[in-house]
Amino acid sequence: MTDYFVLAISCIFVNNILLAQFLGNCPFLGTSKKMETAAGMSMAVVFVLVMAGIITWITDTYLLKPLNIEFLRTLSFILVIASLVQFVEMFLKKSIPGLYAGLGIFLPLITTNCAVMGACLINIKEEYTFLQATVASFSYAIGFGLALVLFAGLRERINIARVPQPLQDTSLGLVTAGMIALSFYAFKGMV
């Protein structure tokens, strides 16, 4: 039990996918201008990353490893994740229209998100068990959401402040991201 807790803490804070691994930078900068958008994006990532973590672990363990074709991992993961997202989108549209409307356009947006892909590949590299992989995926997604929402809050405040012309928008966004990353660096000693 403690192991899983440590794993979760490490995935959320210490190895935060956005701020420590620097994966998924496009949605980090692209969807962080408004809190509303950031929250929607985070929800979608939690949803997709857990599903993707599970399905890629299964693909790797029961297809790639027995056939000795691990070199096709990246390629096949892309295919599997893309299909999965499409499938989930259709399923939600039919069965849970409320959730579909909530996640909106964010679902297809993260089909080829590097944060999702990266987390799945890390799961395999670290040789997690099925349960570990699931917990890790969920925690990475929570970490993603945490960072994104924090960042969006900051950007909303920055947006109403007077910022010199050359630093406006993305420039100051990147500087801010760097500073949050530094502060997240302090978590290194936790685990």
């Binding site: 297809l63 096709l72 295919l79 893309a82 499938f87 259709m90 039919k94 909106g104 947006n159 109403i160």
Partner: protein, 690 residues
């Protein structure tokens, strides 16, 4: 290598098969029209329409949330294609435009910077937007930044200005503004705006029965934008030339400057800009909404009928006016003498209204020449009854039908229609209202040597406008106060020779607060006259009830012969018949009739669109916003109000030339600058929180 290739093919195939099955199983029915509509949108996903991309916009069109013209960059062809898919008429889609609903006042010149904050939104976040006026513009330009089409700019007075040619009505500025200064509305919505209890209205604007935005047009005059002022007035009142001449301006009695000083001469300013337009030689073009294909019949072309027709036409309906007299104008043509409202001025004004595409049929009387049945058969979906109040009351004394006896409106309208009346040399007018004064002044101009006005109370109680009474005194009308006519005496030819009256004295005040006149017994006096005109009030003439159409029986009248209606919606007891003006209220002001015409137009518009005819929510209608009515005003240096230029008395009496003249430009500007711009104070940086 082969192995890898086969594996990838297999995995791809498997995914493909699963997805294709899933698409069958999880298929959601989607209206095929959505795809068709989307094909005809611009496909730029610009978001200008306010929806998240073109497919969302297409869905909104199909579900009826948006109009076929939703796409702001689509061509006219695209719009008509979309309309064709939806089976709608592309013409009914009226363009929306942004406008600054805050007319601005004396805005604080310096901007307030809080830790470098320069956005309106931040201002509202930091201070909760509290400032002198709850709608006040902060002026930091969030709306300018929000506009993707470059249509919003910050004007020199620190308020946003919208370029109508560039604005596409997307609403981005409205969303960006934390103070709701910028609003996106169609012209129809703006035309049908009525004063509501929560509106920030100056006392004059609350009082005006036509609900004209008075501070706004005075501000425009101050800025030298006379034609802009004309357009502001025309949003509420199409008869500005007439009103500028004859309106007794109830607004001026509520003017806040009037508490400490003389009130602003609002009506003279209205007349100044109205005349400015007329003498400029060109009419300002008036826009109408796209045709709706609905037909409305307006019966009666008095101020209420003209106003109703004008607004209905601008809302896109097809309007026809039916008038029983030879010319249009109703009471303002036939009841108001030419020296107050010249015919050519009225003709010019009515021509402008008819130019919008309104048909008129003169010389046809409702209930006699045509009726509800023929109007319905001709395809009219609604009827506006503005027949006015043309039936003079009678005195009920012996001899009042002798030759030489006239009634007020009857005499005025016959004279205005060009009839030459034989009035002899001396005349007595009975009554103390505006009609009585009009009759007396008219007769002086017709060459009578002596005109008496016989009124049963004193000058103080006369209901006529003060300026009219003064003018009649100047022109030589002789007043006989405290006199109650008792008998008309005639000669052997049954022609009037004398009016016998009883002298009165004032007793106790009655219900209306005026002291009741009481007769002095045995004080009968004779007044030698050739003509007697009775002008003691009118009621609507109900000859339209003769219409044989079965539904006419449902039309109820009050005991004053006025048409029964819902006072808020002006709908009569027949759902498709609406009424306003004197026919509904009894004799009242021109400006009341104009306001009523617009209110009726709103109800008719709702009725034609198949909506429920409901009153305006929180409608202010004749009431005041209590907290805005002050008893004292600080810091006013009295400045004399502009005196109305008048024709000298010796030049008046030999013709019907207009007596009241228009203010010269410099005086008008001076007068406009006397306006306190009430309820228009904006953000004041010294008051941080209130």
């Amino acid at each position: 290598m082969t192995e890898a290739l086969l594996f990838m093919l297999g995995l791809g195939g498997a995914c493909g098969i699963v997805l294709s099955f899933a698409s069958k199983i999880f298929h959601v029915y989607e209206d095929p029209r959505i795809a068709l509509v989307e094909e005809n949108l611009a496909g730029a996903n610009c978001g200008g329409c306010g929806y998240a991309g073109c497919s969302a916009a297409a869905e909104a069109v199909v579900t009826g949330k948006a109009l076929p013209s939703v796409c702001v960059i689509s061509s006219a062809e695209g719009i008509s294609n979309v309309a064709a898919v939806m089976g709608m008429d592309p013409g009914t889609a009226e363009a929306h435009q942004a406008y600054n609903m805050c007319e601005g006042g004396t805005r604080a010149t310096d901007k307030y910077h809080y830790m470098g904050v320069t956005s309106c939104k931040a201002m509202a976040v930091v201070f909760g937007g509290k400032r002198d006026c709850h709608i006040g513009c902060v002026g930091l330009g969030d709306c300018v930044k929000a506009c993707k089409f470059g249509a919003v700019t910050m004007g020199s007075d620190g308020h946003p200005m919208v370029d109508d040619n560039k604005c596409v009505g997307c609403g981005a500025c409205q969303k960006a503004c934390p103070k709701d200064i910028i609003e996106v509305k169609s012209m129809s919505e703006k035309l049908l705006k009525f004063n509501q209890k929560h509106d920030p209205l100056a006392p004059c604007a609350q009082t005006c029965p036509a609900e004209i935005n008075i501070p706004m047009y005075i501000n425009q005059i101050k800025a030298g934008d006379y034609l802009g002022a004309v357009q502001t007035i025309r949003m509420r009142n199409p008869l500005l030339l007439s009103c500028g001449r004859v309106c007794p301006h109830p607004c001026e009695s509520e003017c806040r400057r009037g508490i400490e000083d003389e009130p602003v001469s609002i009506n003279q300013l209205k007349r100044f800009v109205a005349d400015y337009e007329m003498f400029s030689g060109a009419r300002i073009p008036i826009k109408c909404a796209p045709d709706t294909g609905k037909k409305v019949a307006v019966v009666g072309s008095g101020p209420s009928g003209l106003s109703c027709a004008y607004f209905l036409r601008r809302l896109g309906h097809e309007v026809s006016i039916f008038e029983s007299m030879p010319k249009l104008g109703g009471m303002i043509r036939y009841g108001i003498p030419e020296y107050r409202l010249p015919d050519d001025v009225l003709d010019w004004e009515i021509e402008g209204i008819l130019n919008l595409g309104i048909k008129s049929y003169n010389h046809v009387k409702f209930g006699v020449d045509f009726g509800l049945g023929s109007l319905m058969a001709a395809g009219y979906s609604a009827v506006f009854l503005g027949v006015g109040a043309w039936q003079d009351y009678e005195l009920g004394i012996p001899g009042e039908h002798l030759e030489g006896c006239f009634t007020g409106i009857d005499m005025l309208s016959r004279r205005a229609g060009g009839e030459v009346l034989d009035l002899g040399k001396t005349a007595a007018v009975i009554g103390g209202g505006n009609t009585a004064v009009d009759c007396a002044r008219t007769m002086l101009r017709l060459g009578l040597e002596k005109v008496y006005m016989v009124y049963r109370r004193t000058r103080k109680e006369m209901p006529a406008n003060e300026v009219e009474i003064v003018a009649s005194e100047e022109e030589g009308v002789e007043f006989v106060f405290l006199a109650a006519p008792t008998k008309v005496i005639g000669n052997d030819d049954d022609h009037v020779t004398h009016l016998e009256y009883l002298q009165m004295q004032l007793g106790e005040p009655d219900a209306s607060g005026r002291r009741r006149p009481e007769p002095i017994e045995g004080s009968e006096t004779l007044l030698e006259v050739d003509t007697i005109v009775t002008a003691i009030g009118q009621s609507p003439e109900a000859s339209f009830k003769q219409d044989p159409h079965p539904r006419m029986a449902e039309l109820e009248l009050t005991r004053w012969n006025t048409i029964e209606n819902n006072p808020e919606t002006l709908q009569s007891t027949i759902p498709y018949v609406f009424t306003a003006g004197d026919a509904a209220t009894g004799p009242s002001l021109v400006v009341d009739a104009i306001g009523g015409g617009r209110r009726a137009a709103r109800s008719i518009d709702l009725f034609l669109k198949g909506k429920k005819v409901e009153p305006v929510i929180d409608s202010l209608q004749h009431r005041r916003i209590k907290e805005s009515i002050f008893t004292t005003v600080k810091g006013i240096t009295p400045r004399k109000r502009a005196k109305m230029p008048e024709l000298p008395v010796d030049k008046r009496l030999d013709s019907f030339v207009e007596v009241d003249l228009v203010l010269p430009e410099d005086k008008a500007l001076k007068e406009a600058n006397r306006c306190l711009n009430c309820c228009r104070l904006c953000y004041n940086p010294d008051i941080k929180t209130a």
